[in-house]
Amino acid sequence: MNKIIFAEFIGPDTKMFRIDAPLIAAKQKPGQFIILRVSPEGERIPLTIADSDTKEGSITIIAQGIGKTTKELNNLNAGDYIQDLVGPLGKPSHIENFGTAVSIGGGVGTAIAYSTAKGLKHAGNKVISIIGGRSKEYVILEKEMRDIADEVIITTDDGSYGKKGFVTDSLKEIIDSGEKVDFVLAIGPIPMMKAVADVTRPYGIKTVVSLNPIMVDGTGMCGGCRAVVDDKTVFVCVDGPEFDAHKVDFRLLTQRNRIYNDQEKESVENHNCRMLKMADEVANG
């Protein structure tokens, strides 16, 4: 059991947690993740370690409530406990001084990109951060990114904050402005990552994405997280999660992430039912 030290919503359905986990904090490197279970009957879900504080012995994770487990997690607060927490898992990001690096985060992907962007800065890169969101409320970690990046660009789909448009528009602008981009890190929804890969491919810019398949153990034991990169099957939890964006089979990733769609809907409905019932009981009790 790991204690939540701090918890706060930083965007719609998006919550930041600092969790007591000194061993993981001491070991963690950018790009790695943990797997947690919220309750004894809970599912094991992967979340990126956005940051760590070795003094406090804590790690930071940021979760977007999209299904049963992430919503349950986002109901927890400081003082509550996480049932199980294991990590750090996966290979750390490959970080070196590339020159100019553009870090692109879409939605909660900004949280996943943050620690790698920070690592890139430490390694001496000029870091340009593009933060994308559907609208103003979905733009997260702006302050944190401003603290580490040389430049921060914000885009929203509806233009309610920053530039109107997609992250790829801003990326193209940077490239077209003559800035020599040596490295791109893109993390967010699968269509966004694919779009970024398509933009950088003709320029031959090294581009890395972090894949988010459904996982169980996170140790290479089940093969459920398999993806195809460079026409070869990989286990994302041990061989990744970061891969060369130009070689990833995004269609397959999308398809495999839909495996349980019908069942997940049932799970959330069931959860909502239980909540309604509980509310009823409280009201009538």
Binding site: E43, G223, I259
Partner: protein, 471 residues
């Protein structure tokens, strides 16, 4: 009980294991076998003629004192029987259920010549169950503390038996386990209907009572490394199992609906997907669907029988060779057939096909015939020219074995492994090339059996003890 004569003994028939009706059990997850009652156990024990030079003991990989524990059962001294078993076998309730007795102890029992060996496995299970149900699992005796500390990596049968022996030798023992539950394959692989999870957890609890410390959620190699453990512990035992699923490497293997047996069984057993949505982890909807399981071992039988219990319309085994070559326990094959599993042999998969949404809907298979024996002495399946069939299926489970998980070896580069990634040890001491590091179980032997893994854990405990004394 009055003395019975040898002639009378020879007349007693082997007692079948009472079990759930096949039609009923094929749709529930409760244990298939009920176990003997006291009267049946005594009668079965009376069949043993107490050979002065018992073959059975030699047939058991850990040399359980079989005639002695059976005599105790015949005398009604059930508690003694359990104690005798535990001198050689840390988990008799488990081995009585899952050992391949027909190729070990029972194969060489003198009565096997007449076709019906003493039901050693059933009696072993009886004694262990009796102890657990009537007086509780006895924690191992704890020896005088030596002040030495040992780290065990992996909470499967190899690690647990090593931990049990080391704590009785007086050492401090900590078990590090990657998953959130202790037990290894006994928890995530072998299904509830064959090995109730409560039984495994009772054994783990008894080790806890004896003072073994368990640290779940620790992936050694990532959470901390073997070298770091060596700074804090006097010795390390590595029993991480064979946890890397093999796939068939054929087209369509990444379609939705194609699983490794590890994932399929883990979702159902460890994560309790069969109670979904009450437990949160889902499994592909198998109800009223056609499921094909590729393989012929225990894992394949577990997966195919699990499919029936999840409501499959048709649950099929697809095997390259014939039933004779299947490595599964005979009882599992027999049970699977009784429950309605369809056995298809001499078929090798060529390709999985799917619909436009990426859902599996068929498998293309090559028909084979048996040719010359291969290196393993089994006759090799040879494709029959042009004999190709396509069968509609919705779920496929690939159960063709496991390789060794690379996390430990990758992060401990000076630990010697062979080309398959198995850790190399001196087989009499379980010592690796690295000072203070021992290893055993599936990570050394490749996928084997529970009893062999436990035997290895036990041998390692003995040599760790010697090592700590000489240190």
């Amino acid at each position: 009980m009055a003395e019975i004569t040898q002639a009378q003994r020879m007349k007693i028939q082997r007692h079948p294991m009472p079990e759930q009706d096949p039609k009923v059990r094929a749709r529930n997850f409760k244990e298939v076998n009920f176990g003997y009652d006291e009267k049946t156990a005594i009668e079965e024990a009376n069949r043993c003629i107490q050979c002065p030079k018992p073959n059975c003991v030699k047939g058991c990989p850990v040399n359980v004192k079989i005639p002695t524990f059976i005599q105790a059962i015949a005398d009604g001294a059930f508690r003694d029987a359990a104690q005798i078993l535990k001198q050689d076998n840390a988990l008799p309730a488990v081995c009585g259920r899952v050992c391949p007795q027909e190729v070990q102890c029972e194969k060489v029992c003198i009565l096997a010549k007449k076709g019906k060996p003493v039901a050693i496995g059933n009696l072993e299970r009886f004694a262990a169950d009796w102890e657990r149900e009537n007086i509780g699992v006895h924690p191992p005796h704890v020896g005088k503390k030596t002040g030495k500390k040992v780290a065990i990596v992996g909470g499967g049968p190899a690690g647990l038996s090593c931990a049990g022996d080391l704590i009785s030798m007086g050492h401090d023992v900590t078990v590090f386990e990657a998953l959130h539950t202790i037990g290894g394959v006994l928890m995530y692989g072998i299904p509830e209907f064959r090995l109730p999870k409560d039984i495994v957890q009772k054994e783990v609890e008894s080790l806890m009572e004896a003072g073994v410390v368990f640290k779940p959620n620790m992936v050694i190699g990532l959470s901390t490394t073997i070298d770091e453990l060596l700074q804090e512990y006097n010795a390390v035992f590595v029993g991480v199992g064979a946890g890397l699923p093999y796939f068939l490497n054929i087209p369509g293997e990444n379609l939705n609906g194609v699983y490794s047996s590890n994932e399929y069984l883990t979702r159902v057993n460890l994560m309790k997907a069969y109670t979904f949505p009450s437990a949160d982890t889902p499994i592909y909807d198998v109800a009223e669907k056609n499921v094909a399981v590729f393989g012929g071992g225990n894992t394949a039988m577990d997966a195919v029988r699990t499919s029936l219990r999840l409501g499959a319309k048709k649950a099929m085994i697809m095997y390259r060779r014939t039933e004779e070559e299947m490595p599964a326990r005979k009882e599992e094959i027999h049970h699977a057939k009784e429950e309605g599993v369809e056995f298809n042999t001499l078929l090798a998969p060529l390709e999985f096909k799917g619909d436009e949404r990426g859902k599996l809907n068929a498998v293309v298979l090559q028909k084979c015939e048996l040719g010359e024996p291969d290196a393993s002495g089994r006759r090799r399946p040879v494709p029959i020219d042009g004999a190709i069939v396509e069968i509609p299926i919705d779920v496929a489970v690939v159960a063709i074995g496991n390789g060794s998980n690379p996390i430990v070896s990758r992060t401990t580069p000076d630990l010697e492994v062979n080309k398959w990634g198995n850790i190399i040890v001196d087989e009499t001491t379980m010592k690796t090339n690295k000072k203070g590091v021992f290893a055993g179980g599936d990570i050394v032997s490749g996928g084997a059996t529970v009893i062999l893994a436990m035997g290895a854990g036990r041998t390692a405990a003995k040599s760790i003890d010697e090592y700590l004394k000489s240190e």
